[in-house]
């Protein structure tokens, strides 16, 4: 039992600490550990977990960790796998930002803050483009433009919470788009 717990911790720790660019980037690494290395699941099983993980909202890496951990060693297994996924990188972020905040007034830190903005802007533009393509691929350009146009209007001209906008989009997708796809 102890060894299983350790393997769960180690497998998910390695997969996530090597995955750059957020949860989605870690998926192939998780698959490597789960399917090829520890044989906790077959490729088909992992594919199913990934499919249901994508059908549910929320961060993908933690959902996979919770499910595989549970599958291998019950609720405690789910806890260990999720812990190994989140805690190391979250701790690193907290420590780094604490260091940065300590030297907030230094021109060096100010320069770093300034310099990082264009990179974030470009990363966001690329991510936007990716989501635009995903959307046109699945529902076509016209549906995308209409939904996007309404969303833009709602977000810039009204005080509606973005969460409500997403819930409305869910409803539209469930009621209307489900018949056209």
């Amino acid at each position: 039992m102890l060894q299983t717990w350790w393997e769960l911790f180690w497998g998910f720790f390695v997969a996530n600490i090597l995955g750059y660019g957020g949860g989605p980037a870690s998926i192939p690494l998780m698959q490597e550990e789960i399917v090829n290395h520890y044989h906790w699941m077959t490729t088909e099983q992992f594919g199913d977990v990934l499919a249901i993980g994508n059908a549910l909202p929320g961060p993908i890496a933690t959902k996979i960790a919770a499910f595989v951990g549970y599958h291998v060693a019950g609720w405690f297994g789910a806890f260990i796998a999720t812990f190994a996924t989140i805690v190391p990188s979250a701790t690193a972020l907290i420590l780094l930002l604490r260091l940065l905040n300590k030297h907030r007034t230094s021109p060096k830190v100010k320069g770093m803050t300034l310099l990082v903005q264009p990179v974030i802007a470009v990363l966001m533009i690329l991510l936007t483009w990716e989501f635009g393509q995903l959307s046109t691929d699945s529902i076509g350009i016209w549906q995308t433009l209409v939904i996007a146009g309404i969303s833009l209007w709602v977000m810039t001209k009204t005080k509606l919470h973005p969460a409500i906008l997403i819930v409305i989009a869910f409803a539209y997708g469930a009621l209307v788009l489900s018949h056209t796809m």
Partner: protein
């Protein structure tokens, strides 16, 4: 008073946890809304920094940000509460839904929901990109903002260099940027003085 902060953390993080589709990156605009606009845990500049450094570190993005925002408002316990609120609902859902896995996977309703929300996220990400670009434009000045924007685009998109590396290099240069600009300016001024 203390409880109210936790309340905000839990509500904000549950909301971002269950409404983000397509993994961590898609949920960033929602987290930004809760953290900057709704609950004012951090300023917009600080959010940009947190996002940048979170991107430069390995591991899932959204949970890292949830942890830091919780830590910032309420210390270590805040970080734990924040992360749990963000991931527990969907983590439990995937375990409990094991039985109905295939039904959900084949469901047209679910497929429709995912598809509709992508267009919304597209707009949210676009607005965020615009705001960060404006911030760079104002903070660095037009020339530097355009120059660094182009360098970032070329390295990320055309050369396919990993975002973590690009951010690390920009951060590294950032340490010297203000100093260099200063030196260049004063040199320019003294040159003018001489002539």
């Amino acid at each position: 008073m203390g409880w109210k902060d936790y309340n905000g953390l839990v509500i904000g993080m549950v909301r971002t946890g269950i409404l983000g589709y397509g993994g961590g990156p898609s949920v960033i605009p929602l987290i930004r809304y809760e953290a900057v606009t709704r609950y004012k845990w951090v300023s917009d500049e600080e959010f940009g920094e947190i996002l940048a450094i979170a991107n430069a570190l390995p591991g899932p993005i959204a949970t890292k940000m949830a942890a830091y925002l919780g830590y910032k408002t309420k210390g270590v316990l805040g970080a734990i509460v924040s992360v749990l609120a963000h991931i527990l609902p969907t983590s439990i859902a995937i375990i409990v839904l094991l039985g109905s896995m295939y039904a959900l996977r084949e469901s047209k309703v679910v497929a429709g929901m995912v598809a509709a929300v992508r267009a919304v996220i597209f707009v949210m990400l676009g607005m965020m990109a615009y705001e960060f670009a404006m911030k760079a434009w104002k903070g660095l000045g037009k020339v530097f903002a355009a120059l660094f924007g182009v360098i970032a685009f070329v390295s990320l998109q055309l050369l396919n260099i990993h975002p973590g590396i690009v951010i690390a290099v920009f951060l590294g240069y950032g340490v010297f940027h203000l100093d260099l600009v200063q030196r260049f300016k004063s040199k320019g001024n003294s040159d003018k003085g001489v002539s």
